[in-house]
Amino acid sequence: MKISPIIVALSCLGVTALAQSRAPHLAYVYPAGGQAGTTFQVVVGGQNLMAVSNAFITGPGVRAVVLDHQRPMNQKEFNDLRDRLKVLQEKFQAARRNRSGANAWTAADAAEREQIRAKILRNPPNRKANPAMMDTVTLKVAMAADVAPGDREIRLAMPSGLSNPLRFCISNLREFSKPAAQAANPELEKFIEKLGGKPAPTGTPKYEAAITLPAVVNGQITPGEVDRYRFAARRGQQLIFTASARSLIPYLADAVPGWFEAVLTIYDAKGMELAHQERFRFDPDPVLHFEVPRDGEYVIAIHDSIYRGREDFVYRLTAGELPLVTGIFPLGGRRGEKTSVTLTGWNLKAKSLVHENTQTGTAPLTGDFLNPVPFTVDDLPECTESATNDSLQTAAALTLPIIVNGCVRRPGEQKYFKFAGQAGQKIVAEVFARRLGSPLDSNLRLTDASGKQIAFNDDWDDPACGLETHHADSYFAATLPAAGTYFIALADTQGHGGPDFAYRLRLGGPEPDFALRVVPSSLSLRAGMSAPVTVYALRRDGCTNAISLSLQDAPPGFSLSGARIDANQDKAQFTLKAPAWPTDEPVAITITGSAVIQGKQIVHVAEPAEDMMQAFIYRHLVPVQEFAVTVSGPPRRFLAGAFKILSQTPVKLSPGRTARVRVSAPPGNFSGRFKLELRDAPAGISLARVAPVAAGREWELTFAADQGKARPGFKGNLICEVVPQFQKSSERKKAAAQPTRRDAAAMLPAIPFWVAAE
C-alpha cells in the first residue's frame, strides 16, 4: 500500500499545529524565587512534564536547566515490583531457615531486593495524587549577582509544547526554603511500614525552623499544616511580614476559596499570640506590622485560613525591618509633568519622591522600599481637592474635563464637587482607587441644583481588573437634562476613611478608548502552521469602533489572519501563522490594535493574559509579562502551498443559505484520514461539506448559515481544524479509557466572514 507523504507528515505531527492539550501545564513552582547571586534547585509541579527539556525565565541574568523528572509509577508497575519483592522475601526467609538448601540466598538476590525497594521509594505510586500536579521537574536555577529584584515568569518547554507561565521572584535578601512538599500517599506509608520503616506520623503536620531576619522564607502548606519560624528580635524594632501566596498563583480552578488564603500569626517565646493578620486591606495576601515589645525570641506562623493544603499552596514570606509603602498621594499625575508623591508606610527612608510622568497608563512606582505600588499617568488636567469640600455648601468648583486627586480622610466623610453643565451634555465620572491600591470602596452620586439625583454608581464591572475580586471603583455616564449647576458626591460605601483612602476622580465628557488582552500567553506552533489566538477588547466610554490588529516588530515569518475586532464586538479569534523554520527558544510576540476614534488613530498593545478560572466558576483575564511563542519541527516544503485560502474574503453568508470557500489542499489522499471541523463555530454557522475539487489540489468548504440563528450583520472568523478521521482500534480504546482533547493535525488560516441582512 502506498502511503502518501502528507499522511505520514500529518500523522507524525501528532501533537502538531498546536499541541496545547499535551503541552506541559504548570501548577506550581517551588521555591517561587530566590536570591540574586545564588544557585539553587527548584521543583516544578504540573501535568505533561515528563518530556520537558528546557526551562525559560523571562529577562536577563537568570538561567535554568532541567535536572530530573518524576511521576509516580503506575499501579501495574508497582504491583509487579511488589510481587517480585515478595518472592525474594520468601526466598530470603526460606534460605535463613535452611542454610544448606539448594535455593540459597545470593548477593544478586540481595542487590535486586535493594534495587526494587529503592525504585519503589524513589518513585512510589500514588492513587491519591492530583493528576494536575502529579509530574514534577527539578531545575537548577542560577541567578546573576547583578539582577534586579522583581518578578519574572517561568515556563517549561518540550519539543512540541510550551507551558503556561508562573510567577518567579528575585530578591536581594537571604532566602530560606523548607524541603519541597510530597503529595500525601497513605498507601506508601503503609508499604514503608511493611518494609520495616517508621510508622506514618499522625496528627496535624507541623514544621518549625529558626531563621535570621531579614529573610525571605519559602514554603508549601500541606493539609492542616502550620509552618512556624523562630527568630530573634530587639525591643522597638518595626518588623514587617509580607506573605505572597495568592499573588504567586492568583486563582485555583478546583478549590474554594479559589486561592491559598495565607494567615500570619506572631507568638512570643511562651506561645502567647501577639499579632495576627489575614489580609492586607482588600488583598488576600496578609501584611503584618509588628513592633517588638522586648528583646527575645518570637515565632511567625503561617497556615491557610481554613487549614487546607496541597502542593500548589506555595508562599514566600518576606520578613524583617524592611521599608514598606502602605499608601501614596496622589495616586497619579499628568503626562509631561513631575509629581511629588507623598509616601506613607513603615521603615521608610524618605517620606516623598518625585515621579516624572512620561507615559500614560498605570505602572509600578518604585523606590527605596520593598513593594512597588501602582501609579497612573493621564493626559487630562489635574487638581488636588481642597480640605473643606465635605459639604454641599463647600463643594469644590471644577472646570471639566479634569482629574481630581483627593482622599476620604475621615470615616463617613463625603466629598462634594460642582460644575456648570449644559442641556444634553454627556458626562462621565470615574473613580480610580481600588485599582491603584487604595482601600476606598467608593460610590458616586450626580445631582442637580435642587438635589434631584441624575446618576449613581457604587461598583461596576471592569474586566481589566484581573486580580481584583472585589472591584469597588465607581463609574457612570449620564446626559445632563438642562443647563445649570450640578453636584458630584463621593463617599466610601462602607463609611470608612483614613489617610490612605486616596482616589482619583475623572470628570468630563466621554473619552472613548480601549485596552486589549491577548490569550493564551504561551503558544507552541509547528513550523509553517497556524494556531488560534484570541484578543479581547476592553472598551470604555462607549467605544464601539472596529480595531485592527497587527504584529509589532515580530521576527520574520510570523503573520496573522483575520486579525480584526469588528465594531461593537468585544473579542476576536484569529490565527497566528509560524515561520517555516523552528525557533531555538520562545519568541516574545507583540500584537497591537489600532482604531480611529473621533478622527484620531489610537494604538494600544495587547497585554498578554492568562484566562484563569477561580473556584470552579469565575473567570479572569490575568495579565502576564510576555506572549511567548515557540516554533518547533523541521520545515516541510511540500506543505508550503497547502492550507491557503483561495477565495475572496470576507465570505458573505446569508441566513438560510450556504457559501463556498476554496482552500489549497495538501498533496496525497488527505480526506481518507483526516477531516475538517469548525472550531468554536459562531452562532448559527456550520461547516456543511468539504469536497476535493480541481483534481484534488483544492478543497471546497461549504458553510451554512442557519435562518434563525445566524445574526445579520455579524462579522467574525471561521477557524477550521484538521483532525484525524480514523484511528486504530487500539487507539480508539485508549482514547475511550483516557480521553483527552483531540489535537488538530493542522489548522487553516482564519477565514473572515460576515452575515448578510437578507
Binding site: 496545547q20 492539550s21 501545564h25 501548577a27 504540573g46 501535568q47 492530583n130 493528576p131 494536575a132 500536579m133 480552578a253 478546583d254 470552579f616 466558576i617 471541523e677 483532525v723 482514547a735 475511550a736 479509557a737 483516557q738 480521553p739 483527552t740 482533547r741 483531540r742
Partner: protein, 451 residues
C-alpha cells in the same frame, strides 16, 4: 377562626422528664420508630393515580449529554468518546451507549430534555429542583418528599411502621428537606449499605447483634425496670410498654424484614447489581411495595468536574443496571402504575468538555438546560418532552421548570396545587406557588400525564 393550622405542639412537644428517660433508653436502638405499628397504605385513598414516589436523586448534577440527551453531531469537544448513542425500544429515542439496559425500558419512561432554571450552585439548584421555589424570602420551603410526607404520611392517616419518607442511605445535606414544615417531616435516612449483609439500617438492624441477644437485652432491661413492676397500672408506664412492644416488633418483626434483602431471589439481586445503588433500588421497590409514600435514593458521584468520561465508564453501567431493573421489577409486580420513578439531579453539566488542566476532560455545572426522567404513576412512557439545541447548551423548545415537574408529580399523587401548607408565620402558603410569587412556569406536563 384562625387559618393557621400549623401545630407547634406537634413541632416541639413538651418533653417530660419521664419521656426524656424513656427516649434515652430507647433511642440507641431506634425504638422511637415504633410509634406506628402496622404496615398499611393510606387511611383514606388519595384521588391521584400514584401512591408512591421513588426519587433517584443524582446529586452532583449528571451530565445530560452523556446520558439522556446525547449530541454526537456536536463533535468531539462536546461528546468526547461517547459519540455512538444507541436506539431504544422506542423508535427515534436515543440514549447514551453506556445505558443498554435502560434502552430496553424506554417505553416505560419519558425523558424531559428541556429542564431549566439557570442556576449553577449545588445548594441553590438542589433547593430549586426539589422545592420548585427560588431561595430567599421569609420561608424555607419543604421539598417534594416532605410535602408528600405531610399529605400522605401520618397526618393523612398513614399508619405504617416505617416512616413515610425514607432516604437511602445518606441525607443529601445540601439543604433542609423539610423546610418550614419542621423536623417531623424530615426523611428517615437508613444509613448502612444495602449491598452488604446485613443492611445495617440505623436503629433498626444492629450489625453483630443477633435477635436472641436483642431479646436477652430486653429481658435485662425489664429486670432493671422496677418502676413498671411497682406501678403496673400507671397509664404513662402502660403507654411506654406499648411503645416498647412496638419498637421491638420493628426491630425483630416486619420492620426489619423490609430491609432484609436475603428474602429476595439471588438472581433478582444480581439483576439490580450488587452495588450500593443497585441494592438501594431493590430496597426502594420493597418499601413502595409496602406502601411507603416517598423514597429517595441519594446517588452521589455525578459532580464530574474532572475526568468526566472515566466516571461515566465506571458509573453508568451500575446506574443502568439498577435503574432499568427497578423499572422492570416494578412493572412485573404491577407496581409501576402506582409508583412514580423520578430520576434527576440539581442541574446538568457544561456541554463543552473542559479538556484543560486541572479538569482533564471534565464538565462544570450547568443549570441552563438538563434532563430529568419520569416513569410510572400515571406518567406515559416512551416520550420525549422538550428539546435542547444542537449542542445541548440552550432550551430549544418547551422549557420545563422544576415547578412544572413538581406540579405534575403532585397532580399524579392527587395533591391539589391549592393544598395549604402550614407555616410558622401563619402566611397563606400552598404546595404550588401562586402567580404572584414570580416563579417561572411553562405548565404541568400534560403531554405525558395519562388522563
Amino acid at each position: 377562626m384562625s387559618t393557621n393550622f400549623f401545630d407547634f405542639g406537634k413541632q416541639r412537644p413538651h418533653l417530660s422528664r419521664r419521656e426524656a428517660i424513656r427516649r434515652a433508653l430507647f433511642a440507641g436502638s431506634g425504638l422511637l420508630l415504633a410509634r406506628h405499628l402496622t404496615f398499611s397504605a393510606f387511611a383514606a385513598p388519595p384521588t391521584g393515580r400514584a401512591r408512591s414516589v421513588i426519587q433517584i436523586w443524582m446529586w452532583g448534577g449528571p451530565s445530560h449529554l452523556d446520558m439522556f440527551d446525547p449530541k454526537p453531531e456536536a463533535g468531539y469537544d462536546y461528546c468526547g468518546p461517547l459519540k455512538s448513542p444507541i436506539e431504544t425500544n422506542v423508535s427515534g429515542m436515543r440514549i447514551c451507549e453506556l445505558l443498554p439496559q435502560l434502552a430496553k425500558q424506554a417505553d416505560k419512561y419519558s425523558i424531559i430534555r428541556s429542564m431549566t432554571h439557570g442556576n449553577n450552585g449545588h445548594e441553590t439548584a438542589a433547593y430549586i429542583v426539589q422545592t420548585g421555589r427560588q431561595p430567599g424570602g421569609r420561608l424555607v420551603y419543604p421539598c417534594v418528599g416532605a410535602v408528600v410526607s405531610l399529605e400522605r404520611g401520618y397526618d393523612a392517616g398513614y399508619q405504617g411502621l416505617i416512616p413515610p419518607y425514607i432516604v437511602l442511605t445518606e441525607p443529601q445535606g445540601r439543604f433542609d428537606e423539610a423546610g418550614f414544615l419542621g423536623a417531623r417531616y424530615k426523611p428517615f435516612a437508613t444509613g448502612g449499605n444495602p449491598a452488604q449483609t446485613p443492611f445495617a439500617v440505623e436503629g433498626v438492624v444492629s450489625p453483630g447483634i443477633t435477635a436472641q441477644r436483642q431479646k436477652s437485652r430486653r429481658e435485662l432491661l425489664h429486670q432493671l425496670d422496677t418502676l413498671a413492676l411497682t406501678l403496673p397500672d400507671d397509664p404513662q408506664i402502660t403507654a411506654n410498654t406499648q411503645a416498647e412492644n412496638q419498637a421491638y416488633d420493628m426491630i425483630l418483626g416486619d420492620g426489619a424484614k423490609v430491609f432484609d434483602l436475603a428474602e429476595e431471589k439471588p438472581e433478582l439481586r444480581d439483576r439490580y447489581g450488587k452495588s450500593k445503588f443497585g441494592q438501594s433500588c431493590l430496597v426502594a421497590r420493597r418499601l413502595v411495595e409496602r406502601g411507603i409514600p416517598y423514597v429517595t435514593i441519594n446517588y452521589g458521584g455525578w459532580d464530574t468536574h474532572k475526568n468526566n468520561f472515566q466516571a461515566m465508564q465506571r458509573q453508568l453501567p451500575e446506574m443502568d443496571k439498577g435503574f432499568a431493573t427497578l423499572l422492570q421489577d416494578l412493572a412485573d409486580r404491577g407496581l409501576l402504575d402506582r409508583t412514580i420513578v423520578w430520576w434527576g439531579g440539581e442541574f446538568g453539566r457544561t456541554p463543552k468538555v473542559q479538556w484543560e488542566a486541572p479538569w482533564n476532560g471534565g464538565r462544570g455545572h450547568y443549570g441552563k438546560v438538563f434532563c430529568h426522567v419520569v416513569a410510572g404513576g400515571g406518567f406515559k412512557g416512551g416520550q420525549i418532552v422538550g428539546a435542547s439545541d444542537a449542542r445541548g447548551e440552550e432550551v430549544k423548545e418547551r422549557p420545563v421548570y422544576p415547578v412544572d415537574l413538581i406540579g405534575s408529580i403532585y397532580a399524579q399523587m392527587g395533591i391539589a396545587p391549592t393544598t395549604k401548607l402550614p407555616n410558622p408565620e401563619g402566611l397563606p402558603t400552598f404546595v404550588m406557588p401562586r402567580a404572584g410569587e414570580g416563579i417561572k412556569s411553562a405548565g404541568v406536563l400534560k403531554e405525558i400525564m395519562s388522563a
